[in-house]
Amino acid sequence: MSTATITNGIDTDQAFTLPPGLPDDVAPLGDRTAGAFRTLLLILGVTGVILLVGAVGETTRRQFFHSYLFGYVFALDICLGSLFWILIHHVADAGWSVGLRRVYENVTRAIGPLALLFLPLVLGIYSGNLHQWYDLISQPEPAFGSHEHHQWQVKHLYFSIPFFLFRLGIYFGVWVGYATAMRRWSLQQDAVGGAALTRKMQQWAPSGVLLLGLTATFFSFDVLMSLQYSWFSTIYGVYFWAGALRGSLSTGVLLVLILRYAGYLRNTITIEHLHDVAKLMFGFTVFWAYIAFSQYFLIWYGNMPEETQFYLLRRNGGWYNASILLPILYFVVPFFLLLPRANKRNPVMLAVAAGWILLTHAFDLYWQILPVLHQGTIHLRLLDVAAPVFMSTMVLLSALRGFQRSPLIPIRDARLNETIGYENETP
């Protein structure tokens, strides 16, 4: 039995002992991954410099802010999705996913740094480089009764600077609060065990799901939907959420597969667990298609200019091909990749599917954000690559730090018996 100390950066240090009988060594990774950590830091540094150069350059500034937003949302929605899986695990009193929960808990460590990384976006908005509603609300009241006036009347209230910043504060407060609390209690349980902390997490989780749903919706309205401020879609929050869930599931699978590849957790998080995650990936692939189709279909059928502008903008030049490719690459391909049971139980195919979904998820976000900047056609820039790499590295670093400092699974969870040796019962 080894003794170690948890330093989660939040909580006071707590001693824990690994219970006997675990099929793998789940002690914190500690210095064993120092090399990987340095490599990630290097990538973070290189991409950070590229971003900085882009931000400083007069001609690349607008490009920088849009690329930055793209990379930022890619990383953030993976973290929010991970927070959702933690919360829903507690809401459902699940047993099979105990081991996976720690992976997600480590991913959500990135929400704190990401809250700070939002500040450049605030600069971008208020320097007029990002959202066009800033120009609208900065101008004096337009003539009464004009179309512009309808927009101004509503938007100058909704996007007024104090209210906007206040809202963002609430969003990040909720996310950081729940992510920190859930991880802290989970780590405390590693030390003390028992049912009290399980019940505490189960008591808090439902309110977390509710608040997370609301805050994520309004975040997507405020930051993404409002890129075309006169456009609106009531389903947009659900669309954002569907993408976040897909992105976070794929991230979780890839992290587990990497850990397994490196020799960890091989008998703890087995293909039986991954098969279940793969089923969820498949289910949410279909769910995304359902939501995406509902939005497109109703706007297409209604054919009203204030709504069709969203798809109209994505019909120009190369964006037209991108719009046709999106459902094929992001829905049809993963659908058939994940449909056969054999693929869901094959680590290689699963890695391919998860990687594919993450890439196409980024493509979906690119398709949502960048047409606003390049209205004619697609112009892929280095910054468009550097920003998501920078942000993903940020998430990976935070997660790796978590694995270095805490046991790889919740070692004294009340449902540990159900996750160790778990057998998938699907006929």
Binding site: Q151, Q153, V154, G421, P427
Partner: protein, 698 residues
């Protein structure tokens, strides 16, 4: 205090469950409470349909059929006179008819959610309530289908709705939401019926094997298709059930989405908004759960089912109501928020009228109170675990969900774009009578169902009984940790008593079992040998030993699918999914051919300014026919692969064989096995601990 440790029966041999390896500070509460075992469960559920009904049943049926008669009268009056007898007018062209249609379709969503979606998520508590809610689904969809049938006024033209040329080679408009509705609702009805029936087959066999009268035996014998609980059949059955669940899950989402398209594809403010599809689905599940509880709580009380539908089941369903109610509330807020945020004056006017200034604010706030505010009491545990209070809340939910449809439909149409075409809706007595009649239809069907069919899925509950998943415990320490109950729920469950351990002795046979059982009109040659075992664990071990002894053609007969038995008898996973896939692709091809050919080439018509070949509007029917064909292929391949119907079988002559659908576990070795020898095989089975061993004539 005597602490007697129960014996452990591990079910899976290869991968032993690791229960008890680590500290278990929060033991799982069993899904079925008290000492219920396999035979007792069959008695409890099947008994309800076999004994005379309680005294209230006939008066209740009389009342509901009187209401139903009212509906029949209202419909007859409507058909003989014309739709003018309804209060629908201009601008409110749709009112009670569509409100009730959507209301009932919505009620019909909980059944499939519980049977399919919760099945995929392995929420095993669903087994106690899925049969009842599936039945409700079917009845609710029947209630809904009354309206498309009669609202045309001249219902002899109802066939105009079907994909048939009506006049001058004109086919129905495949770009119309109303036609999609027909496809969606009839597919949903068909697939729900298939799903319900497939789930019923093992229970129908139970009823057949318990039947005392020849009539019951013949009726249930035919309905059960000769199901005997063979593991070779369970092998296909389990996969078919999974396929049907996988098909029903998107189907249930599609149905209410398509219903929402009836409104959302228009450009009427209050109807045209992109969140409508998931919003309608969430609302349907919300209302459906409310109706399940509305019917289940009284049924549970009068039939004494509180050991099967425990207070924890009610608790979980209340949580679902809270969750889906909050989702519906989310959609209300999105609609309201975006109406304001969009800066579209028409949209905002509609919502201002709806919520603050119009003629229907009372309806809007009834809806808000009943659907969003009142269900929030379910955050409190007492409110979820007090049946009479739950009944009160779900009544509010049902009222609220009716008003939701009323608000959407009537309020949105009452104010057209120009004040000149503003109006109000006043229902007539025919509207009211039709609505009351629908409730009569629903409850009449429900009462008949409770009377004639098992309202709880017997075979499925057997699979979640503690006897099927034994866990070692000390009787005095049952559900306790360090001498204390961790939660109040543990204490309530323990009050029903500890589970009875699986029996270790095979019960006596009602008549002596000779070593060779002749069949009347038999071939004279043996068909095979039969042995009965005490419990699933013994049977599993015996099957494995028989395989190890070199036997190839063996089969295990069990009341529910026993985990690990398929490999124990030497079989692998069923290939049935390939048939499902083939069916799906066939359906897709049919839908594509039909719509593109008819709408773009055979008789092209421009509708809504869309191109002839625009694929978007064909997607709903692509989806529905894909699922419909896949479900039919699944059903027929299940029946075909199992070689059903098979009403007579040599094993039927064995005096204890019928226990295979009740509480018995039997093993057979067929004479076709190269190693089979009547005497040696019989001796071998006896050496494994088999009882009532006999060779039957083929």
């Amino acid at each position: 205090m005597t602490a007697k440790a129960h014996e452990t029966h591990e079910v899976a041999g290869a991968n032993e469950p690791s229960h008890g390896r680590f500290a278990d500070p929060l033991p799982r509460i069993p899904l079925v409470w008290g000492p219920t075992d396999f035979d007792q469960l069959s008695d409890q559920i099947a008994g309800i349909t076999e004994q005379p009904q309680p005294n209230w049943w006939w008066p209740a049926l009389l009342v509901t059929s009187a209401l139903l008669l009212g509906g029949v009268l209202a419909a007859s009056y409507l058909i003989s006179t014309g739709v003018g007898v309804w209060g629908s007018n201009n601008p409110v062209n749709w009112a009670f008819d569509i409100t009730n249609f959507v209301f009932w379709i919505g009620i019909g969503h909980a059944g499939t959610l519980i049977s399919a979606i919760l099945f995929l998520f392995r929420q095993k508590w669903r087994t106690s309530i899925n049969r009842f809610s599936e039945a409700m689904t079917i009845f609710a969809v029947i209630c809904a289908m009354v309206y498309p049938g009669i609202h045309v006024g001249r219902f002899w033209y109802a066939w105009f709705m079907f994909p048939l040329p009506n006049a001058n080679h004109i086919w129905p408009n495949f770009r119309s939401a109303l036609l999609w509705d027909l496809f969606a609702v009839s597919t949903y009805f068909t697939v729900s019926l298939i799903f319900w029936y497939v789930g019923l087959i093992p229970d129908l066999a139970t009823l057949r094997d318990r039947a005392r009268s020849r009539t019951r035996q013949v009726i249930f014998g035919f309905l059960a298709l000769g199901w005997r609980g063979s593991t070779r059949h369970w092998r296909h059955y389990e996969v078919a059930y999974l396929m049907l669940a996988g098909l029903s899950t998107p189907l249930v989402l599609s149905v209410h989405s398509v219903v929402s398209f009836d409104f959302a594809t228009s450009v009427i403010p209050g109807w045209h908004t992109t969140i409508f599809p998931p919003y309608f689905v969430a609302g349907a599940i919300f209302g459906g759960f409310a109706m399940v509880l509305q019917c289940m709580i009284p049924a549970r009380a009068v039939y004494g089912l509180s050991n099967l539908v425990t207070i924890r089941h009610i608790d979980v369903m209340c949580k679902f109501i809270l969750a889906t109610g909050s989702l519906v509330g989310y959609a209300y807020c999105m609609e309201l928020f975006i109406a304001w945020y969009s800066g579209n004056p028409y949209e905002w006017q509609t919502f201002q009228d709806r919520a603050f200034t119009g003629d229907y604010t009372w309806a809007y706030w009834t809806m808000m109170t009943c659907n969003l505010i009142i269900p929030q009491v379910f955050w409190i545990r007492w409110c979820r675990q007090t049946p009479w209070f739950v009944l009160l809340v779900v009544t509010c939910v049902n009222v609220g969900m009716w008003y939701e449809r009323f608000v959407i439909i009537v309020q949105s149409t009452s104010h057209d774009f120009l004040p000149g075409s503003w109006g109000q809706f006043y229902p007539t007595w025919v509207d009211w009578l039709q609505m009351v009649g629908d409730f009569g239809l629903f409850f009449t069907l429900t009462l008949l169902f409770v009377r004639f069919l098992p309202m709880i899925a017997i075979a499925e509950v057997k699979g979640v009984l503690p006897a099927a998943n034994p866990d070692p415990f000390m009787e005095s320490e049952y559900l306790k940790v360090n001498g204390q109950y961790p939660t109040a729920d543990h204490e309530r469950a323990a009050a029903f008593g500890a589970p009875r351990p699986a029996r270790t002795e095979v019960p006596e046979s009602p008549e002596p079992v000779p070593s060779f059982l002749a069949a009347p009109g038999g071939t004279g040659k043996p068909w095979g040998a039969i042995a009965e075992f005490a419990n699933p664990h013994d049977l599993l071990v015996a099957a494995r030993r028989t395989r190890e002894a070199g036997y190839q053609r063996l089969d295990a007969w069990t009341p529910y699918p026993v985990h690990g038995m398929i490999t124990a008898i030497g079989r692998s996973r069923s290939r049935l999914p390939l048939f499902t896939l083939a069916g799906g692709l066939t359906g897709l091809a049919v839908a594509a051919t039909m719509q593109f050919y008819l709408s773009a080439y055979y008789y092209p018509i421009i509708v809504g300014g869309k191109e002839f070949r625009s694929w978007e509007a064909f997607v709903p029917i692509f989806f529905e026919l894909t699922v419909l064909f896949a479900a039919f292929f699944t059903l027929f391949s299940l029946i075909g692969l199992c070689g059903l119907p098979r009403l007579f079988h040599p094993v039927d002559h064995h005096p204890t064989f019928r226990r295979s659908s009740l509480g018995g576990f039997l093993l057979t070795v067929e004479a076709a096995d190269p190693q089979f020898d009547p005497d040696r095989t019989r001796g071998f089975l006896e050496s494994l601990g088999g009882k009532h061993v006999a060779v039957v004539e083929g």
